[in-house]
Symmetry: C2
Subunit: 742 residues, 2 copies
């Protein structure tokens, strides 16, 4: 992959060629809504395509059908749905369709500029009969500045002729919507056709506006999609089509289309259609170029705070992959405290558009360290769903709050509890992110107003879910850890370590007086302390068991297994996987990656060497954790290899499913690898600890970190590591063991 | 419940009054097919009714929809379906319907004679306008002698008038069929309407025959139901209705109806409709009274071999309950080696008409000890399904054969593997029944031809499912034991003890030379021996853990729990139940009941006292096991109480769901309680061991047992126990520790 200055992704330079994979990669979005990188007119190519436009958290529900039902199972699932697509524009030249049936398409290239947040699509069309050649370009943005606005600027330039009639047909397409991508067996069919059948026209004075409003049938959510053009045209087909004709007279012609995606939960009493029309008119007034500049400016600030510079001895993949990761995280993440970040971002309805623990463990760290206000908004979204978590715990028979394994609206949406609800580490994961947020930002206000209540309720849950064993101490039985190839075990060490961490956070960073208002008594407080102190971790000397019985199971020899049997979950019954020492993904090693200070060097080495050969990395969440853990081991070759592979997911389609959406957790994992695996960053309440290392065959890297409102830049090269204060008050940094004020 | 000589069940004397419960209780069947005890004409009562006619093992399939799918899950479920009902007969007197709308119904009583296998229904009807009174009686049998024949004899007697016209309408009703009873959440909807829509008339020369033939849509099974009457009449409505008129002239009038249920898998090349017609004509020729006598004779022989006499100080419930149990087992059990015995017998489609482990552990013992040819036919049915079991094991990733948890055709039909496929004790349960069958019958031929192959394949499965632990020995991880309130644990002690028993049976009752033809090598044989010897059983001194971690979980205090929370599975999430020390049903205690010789007296006492307070008995399989175990304990009051409660299931509707079918396992449990709990019978290869006890407040009991082809009678009274040889060669009996030849 050759990359223009490492800021641009050209589809013809990607190592993948499947059009739907490329469409996922070229998604543009702003965290509120997103658009896949499909062509404006499908007919310019014969490749198969999946259009998609999604509002983060805009979902329909469907009843869950169980093979066998039991008490307390979720009754319905939520699914983010595909919305009417405003990117469609098709052309005719002198009445002939500008497509691959009626002409030759050449120089057809899409390009995503990560620097400016602009996607460009260009091609040249030569009419079969007329021989007339035009160069067409589309530039599109989903504005980061204007939450609801998507804009396209089209330019058509005559190449070998002087005059012609260009007919433009611009639509909002609500055909062929689907609720999910086909490779995910865990999702239900949602009938979006039914929703669209009842869509209504937008009621507006402006007869140039096309669009429609619609309401989901079961979840009762409404949204409106409208569009306006900077030329006059004819609106038809129930306001879904806009058409216009322009005379090409030697000069290029240009058209701009502005679309507005507006979920009615965004309105505060005012008329939705008036708001949409006003937004559209404002954008049209400003013009595409103004929006593009706003966008470039926004991105400049983003990169200023967030960019990672990497210089390596090998190819430039890593620089590119890390920028792509951060860029897509920004595009995917909800920033208003009312939505999260889904497993596939806003690039598809894969995994139903659900928020998982990926958010807190894999993704929030990037925002915590670079854009803490976004980390805050993600934690606020969890806080806003706390009442559902409290009900969920009660439904199951426990006290406190248990956050849902997968959800949009805060209710558990999972249909197989052994690999979801039983993964009760979700609470500790969220609290880990809260702790990190607090330590990095010192945001006392947030803790007082939101954080502590979550922390207390999440801790209460564990006191009632866990129990006291006279020999072992505090045990947490019947859980599933991160590794989905093991389920319903006792004392998953990741879970227990994370819960221990959570309870220590509560009881050492705060005191009883701060949480008494949540009904915490002295007795309960002591239990929190005691459970943290006596938390049981299964061990055999320095080898830590993934759970109480893991080490006594037979091992699968992954090296000798038939390659066609991977990923194992597609070829083996869960019982077989549960019965063996085999991991889908990092489990104990993830705890080690997140909290290396809880393990001795000897333990890190022994456990890494034990678990790595048992891990299939069938999950995209796995390699980054192993890379981080490997960074502290003597074997630098293994580290280098794991490091490189952890950067590869979407741009190389290494999981073979990027067509069904990007992998946001894996993208967050790239940040983790650099910060936890290379910079070896750790925030405590009063200082920032950095123990940076230089990986084999790297020359240098530079990364910015915010701590307590200040920003520092860490530069690491062969000559050593260097910290500079970029803005804010001086902060205390422990660099390579030495405490320095910067 | 007052009972006529303890042989008759009158519906007006039952302690239950719900009509559908009574219909279940009054089911008549012959193991091939069965009919619920519904009225011939629903309109004589306003109570709600559920008609039902079922052929054992005649099923339709439906796809299973999973909340989340995974590799190796069964894709479809089988469901025994309700068939057209030939019991319908309605009357008119002088053109007025003989029902509760047009007259007064009095003395309406149904009666099931267990002695003769005859069900009678009588009532008196007095016309509202005419004041004419008739006494109507129906007698029905499902013939044990004629596998396919159901017969009804109707008598109508004028009480207060001389002359009248009686119109008879007799139908085969295929309306309102359903595939399942409503209280079972685990079954799918099967559209039997669709099946009946395509039903065809029977092609026959005899124009008096009504009936239809039909084919299931997915499983592609065909059956024919036909009927004939001993009077001439008019056939209409596509051969589904037969009508006739008779002059009542002072004397009673009589009509007989013969129906034939014929599954085409029963035919061997000959024309099905010709067979059905021939069967019908033969029965009609013989006449109802001849069929009734055949039936009474069959039942006489059955009771001769099987009856239990019980004399107690209290009410006669136990005598009645035990006879009812044995009677219904006979009616429910497949006897031709091609079908098993379903959880609800032939009284409903509850549990989809599936065969479970109940068959081998709860039911076969009765047949093994009294009608070994039936035990053999049940084991033969398993043998016939061995190839499915081999495939099933392979699909899961293991060697050998794993029998299905629930099935009709031999394929796993369960949709929630943690409580089904993971219950791998199913193999050992079947092998336990095989061992018992072999020890009681000495049927070497069966072992050679069928038994050994099953035993080897079932044992191979365990060698690959289990594994060797350097400290514990042979362990069997990730299993579910009998107790459904615990799942996916390691070393369930019931499972491990039963597998140990199976492997010991194989390696001590046989030698390598007998199984070498199944590819067993010396090495494998040694592994069988070693696994048996080194089988791990979790223990804390004399207390045996239900599994590796059971004893360390918190206990549920069942005594203080709200009564409205039972059965717990209806009110708690599985996670909550799995997390606690709480049992739905006997688990370790069942192993103790089946193999008391593997436990010391001290162990029996300690474990009973530990587990009983933790057991909800939410399953009808539970109390009989506890009663048997209690029989060996010093506390005779507890024993007496458990003993009595173990007899109560269907006649008192103690589970509140007999309306949805009888509980065959619980019925088998009554036999187990008497034989294993009181007679303390144990068969070894060369002797029969009896250590009979007399329970508190019992005066005497008498029971017959077959052993090695001979039959003995054991009489136990306050004066001691007495054995008599009833027929066959003398056998060696160890009675109360003393070996005697009888």
């Amino acid at each position: 992959m050759a990359i223009n200055e490492n800021w641009e992704i050209y589809d013809n330079e990607l190592s993948v060629s499947d059009n739907q994979t490329i469409e996922s990669i070229l998604t543009v979005g702003n965290g509120y809504f997103g658009m896949r990188g499909a062509y404006e007119d499908d007919a310019i190519s014969e490749k198969s395509t999946t259009h998609g436009a999604y509002i983060n958290g805009f979902y329909e529900t469907a009843p869950i059908t169980y093979g066998e039902q039991a008490h307390g199972y979720p009754s319905e699932r939520q699914s983010m749905i595909s919305l009417p697509d405003a990117s469609h524009i098709s052309l005719q030249l002198d009445g002939i369709p500008v497509d691959h049936n009626h002409g030759e398409i050449t120089d057809n290239i899409r390009d995503l500029s990560m620097k400016t947040g602009l996607m460009t699509h260009k091609f040249v069309w030569t009419g079969k009969l007329s021989g007339k050649k035009i160069q067409v370009s589309f530039r599109r943005i989903v504005s980061h500045v204007r939450k609801h606005i998507f804009a396209i600027q089209m330019t058509v330039k005559p190449v070998n002729f002087k005059r012609g009639i260009l007919s433009i047909k611009s639509t909002i397409d609500s055909d062929n919507l689907s609720a999910h991508s086909s490779d995910d067996p865990r999702v239900s069919e949602i009938n979006t056709d039914e929703i669209m059948k009842h869509a209504r026209q937008i009621n507006t004075q402006n007869d140039q506006i096309i669009g429609l409003s619609f309401t989901t049938q079961r979840s009762d959510l409404s949204a409106m999609v409208g569009a306006i053009h900077n030329l006059d045209g004819k609106v038809s087909n129930n306001q879904k089509i806009w058409q216009s004709q322009i005379l090409i007279d030697q000069q290029p012609v240009r058209m701009e289309k502005f679309a507005c995606y507006f979920d009615t939960r965004e309105s505060h009493g005012e008329s939705v259609s008036e708001t949409v029309v006003a937004e559209l008119e404002k954008s049209k007034e400003a013009g595409f170029d103004a929006l593009r500049k706003e966008q470039a400016n926004y991105m400049r600030l983003f990169w200023h705070d967030s960019d990672i510079h990497i210089a390596t001895n090998y190819h430039d993949d890593l620089q590119m992959a890390s920028r792509f990761a951060l860029f897509q995280l920004l595009q995917s993440v909800g920033k208003d405290g009312k939505r999260g970040i889904s497993a596939k971002g806003l690039s598809s309805t894969g995994y139903d558009g659900h928020y998982f623990w990926d958010t807190e463990i894999y993704i929030i760290p990037f925002f915590t360290m670079t854009q803490p206000q976004i980390a805050k908004s993600l934690l606020t979204n969890r806080y806003n769903q706390l009442s559902h978590a409290t009900e969920h715990a009660m439904d199951l028979g426990y006290r406190g709050a248990l956050f849902p394994w997968r959800t949009i609206n805060g209710e558990e949406s999972s249909a197989y509890f052994p690999a979801s609800t039983a993964a009760v580490h979700i609470n500790a994961d969220i609290m880990f992110a809260l702790q990190q947020y607090y330590y990095f930002t010192d945001d006392e206000h947030f803790m007082r107003q939101y954080g502590l209540k979550m922390l207390v309720e999440a801790s209460r849950f564990y006191l009632s879910y866990g129990s006291w064993d006279k020999e072992k101490g505090f045990v947490i039985n019947t859980v599933t850890g991160p590794d989905e190839y093991t389920a319903l075990v006792n004392n998953n060490s990741y879970t227990n370590l994370m819960v221990k961490n959570q309870l220590e956070f509560l009881t050492t960073s705060f005191d009883l007086s701060q949480v008494a208002r949540f009904g915490v008594t002295e007795k309960e407080w002591q239990q929190f302390e005691m459970a943290a102190k006596q938390m049981f971790i299964p061990r055999e000397d320095n080898l830590i068991g993934q759970d109480d019985s893991f080490l006594s199971k037979p091992k699968l020899d992954l090296k000798t297994m038939d390659k066609s049997k991977f990923p194992l979950l597609m070829h083996y019954h869960p019982l077989f996987l549960y019965q063996h020492q085999v991991l889908k993904q990092a489990d104990l090693i993830l705890a080690m990656a997140l909290m290396p200070y809880r393990f001795t060097n000897e333990q890190q080495k022994i456990n890494y060497e034990y678990y790595e050969p048992l891990t299939t990395h069938d999950s995209s969440l796995s390699r980054c954790a192993y890379a981080i853990a490997a960074s502290r081991l003597p074997d630098q070759d293994a580290f280098d290899q794991m490091l490189q592979s952890s950067f590869k997911t979407d741009l190389t389609d290494s999981q073979n499913n990027t067509a069904n959406g990007i992998h946001t957790a894996s993208m967050g994992g790239i940040w983790l690898v650099i910060l936890l695996g290379l910079a070896h960053v750790q925030a405590t309440e009063n200082k920032l600890i950095l123990d940076p290392i230089m990986p084999p065959s790297w020359n240098a890297y530079v990364v910015c970190i915010q701590y307590h409102g200040s920003q520092i830049k860490l530069s690491v090269s062969e000559r050593g590591s260097h910290v500079t204060l970029m803005h804010g008050l001086p902060i205390k940094v422990q660099l390579n063991g030495e405490i320095v004020q910067f």
